[in-house]
């Protein structure tokens, strides 16, 4: 923990407890008096939202597990029973299913925030890597969870994803059999996926603990990316950020509620309301929206092993990002050129998502037949995903390292407070406001 503790036990009991288990001191230092940069904007509220969503998924999940039957014969019907017969089962399931989407939405906001403000750079590399571990665990948890209702999409999604492992040379096939516990995705697979789906969120909770520990050593980054220089640059977490986080959480919950109550199936796939049938694959296999970009990368490559390597490489790249970025300036506020490439990167991720949702051979622009290039039509989602995947990797491995060496950043303020306080004369509205504007 940075700085010393300011906690004063108030009652006799608190003094007694403090010298035995200083847990109130810990809570106080973490969420009450924690010195926080005074300029954090709403992009900093997603950490709190994520913590809430993790709690939400754990609570609703445990309740669902009380009614769910983890067997190939019983799973699908038990979920239907939860929706129709269990008291408030519909509510709990809709909260859990849509909660996963909201969780991913928040984590993507959180991650794009880190990319924009350079929060992954020294001294926050370990914090960032722990975040990437959380993200990986989230993907695992969501994948296992999606198999549980044992609909057509659950089943064939599980088949496709577990078969990815078969691409590993030599050991691949035996690892796949080991994972399945049989010769195909079947009852044994469903049972172990249920067990793992229960386990992983608690591992996430553990890593979140480390994540917050690693946050409290260097403290928060902030929109200027400039280090905290003095007490003048910070405010105490409570009430300033408890209130700001609270407001953001309320807005987020409203959006969540709109999905839960008015369009609970908008983000799901209709094919999952058909019970799993190993003999028929649905016409169009797609993962949930939050995994579509990776799915597009997988399908962009006409070679099984390379496709799998690139897909995992897309996530692995995030882990080494702190060492790919050569720029000394954290925040993109002061890096207009980098901001442009960042904007394209953001769009690229969305484009990859669209590609993942479409059949590879479908035309991107309908009614135009483009020229054939190598194995596919140029006007097809395969080629669009190839271009986008290329940019995805180039952004991290080429643009980010080179840009830091070649660009000229704008002047960076001396401290968080200086743009506002030190130059009252030279800083009328326009001058102060311009660094605030975001590309």
């Amino acid at each position: 923990m940075s700085g010393h503790s300011t906690y004063e036990p108030k009652s006799g009991f608190e003094r007694w407890l403090d010298s035995r288990l200083p847990i109130i001191r810990f809570a106080n230092d973490t969420i009450v008096t924690f010195p926080t940069p005074k300029n954090l904007n709403y992009w900093w509220t997603f950490g709190g939202i994520l913590s809430l969503m993790l709690g939400m998924q754990i609570v609703t999940g445990i309740v669902l597990a009380m009614h769910y039957v983890p067997s190939a014969d019983g799973a699908f019907n038990s979920v239907q029973r939860i929706m129709r017969d269990v008291n408030y089962g519909w509510l709990i399931r809709n909260l859990h299913a849509n909660g996963a989407s909201m969780f991913f939405l928040a984590v993507y906001m959180h991650m794009f925030r880190n990319l924009y403000y350079g929060s992954y750079k020294a001294p926050r590399e370990v914090l960032w890597i722990l975040g990437c571990v959380i993200y990986l665990l989230m993907i695992g948890t969501a994948f296992f969870g999606y198999v549980l209702p044992w609909g057509q999409m659950s089943f064939h999604g599980a088949v496709v994803i577990t078969n990815l492992i078969g691409a590993i040379p030599v050991i691949g096939p035996s690892v796949t059999t080991w994972l399945w516990g049989g010769f195909a995705v079947d009852n044994a697979t469903l049972n172990r996926f249920f067990s793992l789906h229960y386990l992983l969120p608690f591992m996430i909770a553990g890593v979140v603990g480390l994540h917050i520990w690693a946050l409290h050593v260097p403290g928060n980054n902030n929109p200027t990316g400039v280090n905290v220089k003095s007490a003048e640059d910070t405010v105490s977490f409570h009430p300033y950020y408890t209130v700001k986080d609270g407001f953001a959480i309320s807005v987020f919950l409203i959006m969540y509620a709109v999905f839960v109550f008015f369009m609970p199936d908008a983000l799901g796939d209709a094919a999952n309301y058909v019970q799993a049938n190993p003999l028929v694959t649905p016409q169009h296999i797609v993962p949930e929206w939050y995994l579509l970009p990776f799915y597009a990368i997988l399908r962009a490559v006409p070679n099984k092993l390379m496709g799998v390597i690139l897909m995992f490489g897309a996530i692995a790249t995030l882990f080494v990002l702190p060492w790919l970025d050569t720029s000394k300036v954290r925040s993109l506020r002061y890096r207009p050129t980098a901001r442009l490439y960042y904007g394209i990167f953001f769009l690229t991720c969305i484009v990859l998502g669209f590609c993942g949702a479409h059949s590879p051979d479908d035309p991107v622009i309908p009614a135009i037949s483009g020229p054939q290039l190598l194995d596919a039509n140029l006007n097809s989602f395969v080629w669009l995903s190839r271009i986008a995947a290329l940019y995805y990797f180039a952004y991290f491995w080429v643009i980010t390292p080179l840009l830091g060496l070649t660009e000229t950043p704008l002047p960076v303020p001396e401290s968080i407070s200086s743009p506002v306080l030190s130059h009252p004369a030279s800083a009328p509205v326009g001058a102060v406001a311009s660094p605030e504007k975001r590309g």
């Binding site: 088949v159 994803i161 516990g181 995705v185 079947d186 190993p278 694959t281 496709g307 051979d361």
Partner: protein, 184 residues
Amino acid sequence: MADTVVGANPDPHASGDDPNRRDFIHIAAGVAAVGLVGGLAWPLINQMNPAGDTLALASIEFDLSKVVEGQQVVVKWRGKPLFVRYRTAKEIAAAIKDDHSDLRDPATDESRHKPGKAQFLILIGTCTHLGCVPTFGGGDYGGWFCPCHGSVYDTSGRIRKGPAPLNLAVPDYSFLSDSKVKVG
């Protein structure tokens, strides 16, 4: 090092590299601990492999007279779809014609059916890309098309286009009589 050490333990390495009894105990304890952890880890890992009853999954018998020419029947075998296809003369001819084209996973049509039974093609119906079930009648080669990522197989079940690396697998099977096969 101080000049005088009172009551010190003898320096274990003072007399050269000879392992003494303390080193021995450390090594022995370490080996025992590793053995114990390994011995416990293996059952914990191996329990996930197919269980005895799964391995013992019976083979199935199938009556080919149920399939008419040009038709395909799909049966479930070891949790997977099994394609039993009664090929037309035209399909067989197309397959033989391509025996020596540029194939990704070269195999003659003859190696993919039992001698004298060219009409019956029995295949495991999982795409060798990522395991979806290909549908018959799609793609440019008159065989199967996989809806998942667009792999195309010909009338012999050989991979011709798309991301899949291998031909559709031929399971172990034998003819019990003229019209009966046993798979597995």
